[in-house]
Amino acid sequence: MLDKEELEIRRIQELESTNLAREEIRDLVIETKKEVEKENEILAERINKEFVRNNIKSFDIVGAIGAGKTAILERIVFHLKNKYRILVICGDITTRIDADRIEKHNAETVQINTGRECALNAYHIYQIIKNKDLTDYDLIFIENVGNLICPSEFTLGTDKRIVIVSITEGEWVVEKHPLLFKTSDITIINKIDLKERLGTNVEKMINDAKEINPNIIVLTTSAKTGKNIDKLIEILDL
């Protein structure tokens, strides 16, 4: 005999399949799904147009939790704070720890707490820029929620996407997440100061990134020692 829970699961499954697969609305369901997917792209294009119209250079930074996204941003902001008016948008599930770290270097920040969502999307960014005077900024960074999977699905309308990985994540991290490297312009392999101690095969990580995306620029850095941060700033044309 089926227990109560099993019956409830079946009822819900039935409800979904019968409601969404009805002949008369099947085309509508497919069309709606396609339209919803398009919304992020349209908003991202609109965001980019706004950035370009206001002469703002923009970058979004993606990477796993603990790869060093905020640490690298702190370094960049420290170097550029007197040259540009900078806005940093920080995405996290909860807390404003990252925004507080960046604010110590005198850049303006906006924290987005996504709650249970695993990535920022263009709608979040659009809501922010719609309510800001963009003439107040020259440079915008968006630090995404720490994640190597979900951000691939959502472009944010920035000029370039930077993906940051660290050698503590292991030499397979690039190979295992091809979509994110395909949709990025620059790869940073961080924590290079630990190379000797960990023995990670960094060359494999570089080759994997270039194999997945032949146009991608790859740079090794150490946010801790500051190694190659100047090169990164050069690559970003800042």
């Binding site: 599930i93 909860t94 987005i112 707490n113 996504t114 709650g115 809501q127 922010i128 309510n131």
Partner: protein, 141 residues
């Protein structure tokens, strides 16, 4: 509560609402006072998305899949239903709003109970006890 917000609360409680003054204080509050009040630490319910600045009062209940911010003030004891979105919006104390609400650039007066679902409103003041859209008291900006 900050000065501009107190002024808005008084202005919208009057019979003849001075919309121009409400707007002036709304802009002033967002521009100068809300960022210092940013607080999303305590709420009851699911995990919404917050785009700062947002202020949540005490004893605020938030439903499933809700987006709040930027520029949102929510007073004490408010209840927000599932699938809601609040942008540039103030809810004064003890407000209840239903499910699938989208309020953009709106002010909801103290003690208002909007207990129905599927309301999308922009640029207005909402108030009263309403169980349907047609019974809602609404003043456009």
């Amino acid at each position: 509560m900050k000065e501009s917000l107190e002024k808005i609360e008084k202005l919208i409680a009057e019979d003849d609402i001075d919309i121009k003054k409400v707007k002036e204080n709304q802009i002033n509050f967002i521009k100068n006072e809300l960022k210092d009040l940013h607080c999303v630490d305590n709420f009851i319910g699911d995990f919404p998305t917050f785009i700062e600045p947002v202020h949540l009062g005490t004893n605020v209940t938030i439903g499933d899949d809700v987006l709040i911010g930027p520029n949102v003030y929510i007073g004490n004891n408010c209840k927000i239903g599932d699938y809601g979105e609040l942008v540039n919006t103030f809810l004064f104390d003890n407000v209840i709003i239903g499910e699938n609400f989208k309020l953009e650039n709106c002010i909801v007066a103290k003690d208002s109970k909007l207990t129905f679902n599927n309301l999308k409103e922009f640029n207005c003041i909402l108030m009263g006890q309403a169980d349907s859209k047609k019974n809602l008291k609404k003043i456009n900006f």
